[in-house]
Amino acid sequence: MIKRFTVLLLLAGLATIFVSLALGYVPDSSLNYSALYYADNTVSDTGAANIVTAIIVTYRGLDTLGEVTVLFLTAAIVGLVLKRGAKAGKGKPMLASGELLCTGSGLLVPLILLLGVYVFVNGHLTPGGGFQGGAILASGIMLVLLTNPMRHFSHRLIAVIESVSGLAFITVGILGIILAAGFLDNSLLPKGTLGELFSAGTIPVVYSFIGLKVGAEFSSMLVNLSETEGS
């Protein structure tokens, strides 16, 4: 009774807060100070057509490094915990996947992987970028695993992709300190013409490495999960 009353009280409180926020909402007529800076100066500073990518990779590059590190720690801990579980594959064979899933995944997996690579290579031009592209890559791997859970993926290959792209990300950042204005400064490479693939300095390079790293981390989690299934 008391529990239910507390929940109701909490809901009523939240409703009051949200209703008062919604009633007092007035849309901004202009951008605020920092948004105005980004909108005005992103193109001349970085040459990237997508302002969000310019902020994530260049203006707030250090935060992105932290974000990637958090993801890496998560993947490492998932691997550590699941390694203690029993290995699957020794028991009775599982039922084969349906024909629809098999045919569909044969058709879709290459397209999904291509879309993932497209999203992170074009991160400075179109919406999306390393994190989104990496997650799309991992969902391609997920479809392969759904079709054939016994399929073996090389852990060594995933680990090599993950660590090489992580190292390359940090190397580009440190080269920015030495050769350009600061950590992850993108003027190492020429800015190029706005809207072309090879433009915006090092942003496409860095975002491709982030995409590979995120894709490898998510894939390692999925592969670890599927290998310990059925213990």
Binding site: G91, K92, P127, G128, F131, A135, S139, T228, G230, S231
Partner: protein, 84 residues
Amino acid sequence: MSTLLLGMSVVLVIAMIVTALVAISERRLSIAILSAGLVSLIASVLFLLLAAPDVAMTEAAIGSALTTFLFFFVLGRVRGESDD
């Protein structure tokens, strides 16, 4: 925001609330997991309507694909192999 977009958002928000209620009240776990994934999918469409395509892509890939997959894996492990 035009009237069409506003109408779409209202419909989507109502659908999202309904699927969220299904997700917490449904007794069959697989249906509940699927509706939780559907909540994320609708949320990603809403992000797209609110002009945040980057967030929408993340939500669609992680929220509705990878999380649903993770829940199904865990469900399979908890139940054992018999009744997948």
